[in-house]
């Protein structure tokens, strides 16, 4: 053991506990989770919000608060896992909070039992929270107030339904929600620039393919495929007026040339590195053009006009936009996929890419520093952030958060610029837009019905008389669908229109059948989805739902709709 380096520091207790998630969102994601404070405004059977919190307490969010004025009843014990018999008659917020806290001693939890109406009138009542979760049923004026607060203070708000076999959630993110760390699929990330090689890369390829024909078998079988492709590209250009393969036909032709260049006079009857080269032709010989969504980001007002208060995202995006304008490409990401090669050759190739990536980062960083000076920004942006941005520049994402529908009694629901696309989606036989409409109709019913005449808790359809309520809600849903079609300025022809009505009617009936009840399975599944989206919103990693998701537990299908 003498030749080994000194013993290492093993993982900390926290790293051990969170090992399986740190492999996904890393230490920075974990830090973001730990500094968040989530508010749940709970109501109805009250399960989906608690199940959501469960999935956030376990991975270690910093803080949560449950607002719920309900008292624990027998019915709660049949559907909520975070209540016990001895809690009957106590406050649901208090006991669910305590049992959730048991899951993770690192998490702080608190509760508010004051009715939401009066609690919200207190000044700054919403101030401590970094994210709000509201569950249906909720009075529209309350939901509108929460939504307005979230909009004004730029924090995310989620609105959730879990009713019988169906569920829905909408997310209202800030108007500009940019993500750098989108975790793209590793297969989509390799950007080798074979059509725009720089001098060092060309030099590498020349070196490795020197005297190709007389090369010893073992050397020939270990040429990195990138060098093989670059060599044949040069050869091709000689015969094609300096042009690289332009279209599918030429690329397949090129592929045949590469394939034929492999030596077959060996026991294996071929060469692995040439197989790799052949397999890479179609996906690697594309001009390194950024996706249109990325180019759009460079043109957004926030990116064009960087100011003193701009977030670091926009400063870096602006700098990369300049880089793109100058060179017509994004900075080189710098990673190289594994390939058949000798260790030293591979490391050398890796370094060719890394040096180029480093050079690009330095150039972007210079622009960033210049922008910081001219905009008179205070704290310099961390170089590491610039580096990470450059590495993933092709996969950055901008989500434009927008408010969700708050259904007010007897007000027509507006779809705005989304009307046309959603109205079109409405008529697809598998569309879950009719289910979303059923939920809107559910909300309108809630907005206009009370449990008792005294204006107490809102009443959900089907609580007592499923048949009558189903008729009412169906009527509301049909009107919402008709209004949508009208706003879109289209017309749905028969038999599509009747079919749409049948599907909407079925969704409403199944929804009303539940009488506002939560099924634990659907609440748990939806709590899984919502917690996942909350993790994305807090860590600013991965790509969140934009902006509404519905789940059909009868057919086990989801659909994401931008409303």
């Amino acid at each position: 053991m003498a030749d080994l380096p000194p013993p290492v520091q093993g993982p900390t207790a926290k790293e051990k506990k969170y090992d399986r998630q740190l492999r996904l969102w890393g230490a920075t994601g974990q830090m973001a989770l730990e500094s968040s404070h989530i508010l749940l405004i709970n109501s109805g059977p009250g399960v989906v919000g608690v199940e959501t919190l469960k999935n956030l307490v376990l991975p270690g969010i910093g803080n949560f608060t449950i607002q719920d004025s309900a008292v624990v009843s027998e019915a709660d014990l049949g559907v909520n896992f975070f209540l016990e018999e001895e809690h009957l008659g106590g406050f649901r917020a208090e006991h669910t909070c305590n049992l959730l806290k048991e899951l993770n001693p690192d998490v702080q939890g608190s509760f508010i039992t004051e009715p939401v109406e009066s609690w919200l009138t207190q000044p700054d009542s919403l101030k401590p929270y970094t994210l709000i979760l509201a569950t249906a049923p909720i009075r529209p004026e309350i939901l509108a107030r929460l939504s307005a607060h979230a909009g004004a203070s730029l924090i995310p708000i989620f609105y959730i339904h879990s009713v019988g076999f169906y569920s829905h959630f909408s997310i209202h993110l800030p108007p500009a929600f940019p993500i750098v760390d989108t975790h793209p699929d590793s297969e989509t990330t390799s950007d080798l620039r074979l059509l725009k090689p720089w001098p060092e890369l060309i030099q590498f390829a020349k070196e490795k393919t020197n005297a190709l024909d007389t090369m010893a078998a073992d050397d020939h079988g270990h040429i990195p495929y990138i060098a093989i492709l670059l060599y044949h590209l040069e050869e091709w250009k000689k015969d094609h007026e300096g042009q690289v393969p332009q279209n599918y036909k030429e690329k397949t032709e090129f592929r045949t040339i590469v394939s034929k260049a492999a030596r077959t006079n060996n026991p294996e009857g071929g060469e692995e590195n040439y197989d790799e080269a052949v397999a890479a032709v179609l996906k690697s010989l594309n001009p390194p053009e950024p996706a249109s969504a990325v180019k759009e980001i460079f043109k957004t007002p926030e990116c064009v006009l960087v100011s003193r208060d701009s977030s670091s995202f926009w400063v870096i995006a602006h700098a990369i936009g300049l880089f793109y304008t100058k060179y017509g490409v994004l900075p080189v990401p710098g990673s190289v996929p594994d390939m058949k090669a000798r260790s030293a050759d591979y490391i050398q190739l890796q370094n060719v890419y890394k040096s180029k990536a480093r050079k690009d980062v330095v150039e972007v960083l210079e622009s960033v520093r210049f922008l910081e000076r001219t905009a008179d920004r205070k704290d310099p942006i961390d170089e590491k952030d610039v580096e990470a941005f450059c590495k993933n520049a092709a996969h950055i994402k901008l989500v434009r958060g927008r408010p969700f529908h708050v259904v007010q009694a007897s007000e027509t629901i507006e779809w705005g610029e989304r009307a046309k696309s959603i109205a079109q989606n409405l008529t697809f036989p598998d569309s879950l837009v009719p289910l979303y409409i059923a939920f809107l109709a559910f909300d309108e019913f809630v907005a206009t019905h009370d449990k008792d005449a005294l204006g107490g808790a809102p009443k959900m359809p089907g609580e007592t008389d499923a048949e009558t309520d189903a008729e009412k809600v169906t009527g509301i849903a049909f009107k919402i669908a008709d209004d949508l079609i009208k706003e879109a300025g289209t017309f749905v022809e028969e038999p599509d229109y009747s079919d749409l009505k049948t599907r909407t009617g079925e969704f409403v009936q199944e929804l009303v059948r539940a009488g506002g009840a939560e099924l634990h399975n659907i609440a748990a599944l939806t709590g899984g989805l919502v917690s996942q989206e909350i993790i994305k919103a807090i860590t600013e990693q991965y790509i969140p739902v934009d902006n509404t998701c519905v789940f059909d537990g009868v057919r086990s299908k989801t659909e994401v709709i931008r409303v």
């Binding site: 260790s343 059948r513 599944l525 989805l529 996942q532």
Partner: protein
Amino acid sequence: MAEAIIPNLPTNLEGPRARWKYLDNILGRRGPFTDVDWVPGAAIIESLERAKLLVIGAGGLGCEILKNLALSGFKDIHVIDMDTIDVSNLNRQFLFRHADVGKYKAEVAAKFVEKRVKGVKITPYCGKIQDKDEEYYKQFAMIVCGLDSIEARRWINATLVGMVDENDEDSLKPLIDGGTEGFKGQARVILPTMTSCIECQLDMHAPRAAVPLCTLATIPRQPQHCIEWAHIIAWDEERKEITLDTDDPEHITWLFQKALKRAQEFNIPGVTYSMTQGVVKNIIPAIASTNAIVAASCCNEAFKIATSTNPFLGVPETDNYMMYTGDESVYTYTFQHMKKSDCPVCGEDNLSRPLQVDPNSTLQEFLDGLAERPEAQLKKPSIRSEQKSLYYQSPASLEEQTRPNLTKKLNELLENGEEVVISDPAFPTQFRYQLTFKG
């Protein structure tokens, strides 16, 4: 049209069903998709309470499944798991606390859910599914799996297919299976012999291609290559007398340091302790949210099957598989996976599958390749041809006798187009291939 609650169902807040008020809205009312012959109410509740369910696995999915089934109104649940609780389970396996580390998962989980949900009986078994026989599996109405091992899934699948007796409808046990990896997962329902089985779907979960030994030994390029070298080669060379325990921090530290040193020799950056652990233990990232989604989907199907309150996945000729992806927005793909007529487990006549082979490759190479073939994934295969025994893993005498065949070329052992039968101790089935020579 939806019907009002039927009169004979107790709806008062004091009665014995007060706790199940919400559930009873669904159990007591027809919906637009319920069968015309379906009668809501008492009989459905009784069959739900009588159904005996088996849950395989009490880990990330298992904890969720037990909670969900108990709160779906099931009363008699059994659970099998051979594992004990590790500290790295605590970020998602919410029935366990720090003080439970080291105890059996099945026992702790069963006790916890019984305490929380009054009236449910959960019977744990701490051991392997292979310890139990058909008699045992026969007692259950259905089986819900939350496993992380393909082998265990294939074993229970083959066992349940083998149990089906055409003359006894009670012998058909629906198998509901969930699986997760990071932000992805799937839930599927199998009606053994009637719909596509786990073996039919094996190619949906292709194994990762192994790195060739010569890369590890001579030309490492990635930090993972250095770790695999330490794991597969260096340990055997230097610490042969010690059995590698991937849960022992000293062992992981040794492998890490070995790998690090090798990486330095080759100028390969990136070897870390965490990566060493990940590669050596084949760690799959796991989070509470994905487990919640997949487990709840499985239990939703179990509930629908037991109560007929809505159509379920797996009805023959309909969707039986839900694929879930959550890293880029939320995406599900729900479809019908088709039964394979040449499936070695549930295919009608266990036809042999055609397979092209290189006649110059050795028997050893061929057998190694089987581990990576998506539809086979066999780790300890034994093989015989129509004429003779080619290689047997056991008994020892037969192994010794057939071992010389491993280095022989296929064209020395077989005729072109000959059928071979392959078996593996992990599976109660045989795999048949018809081998044709390439070129």
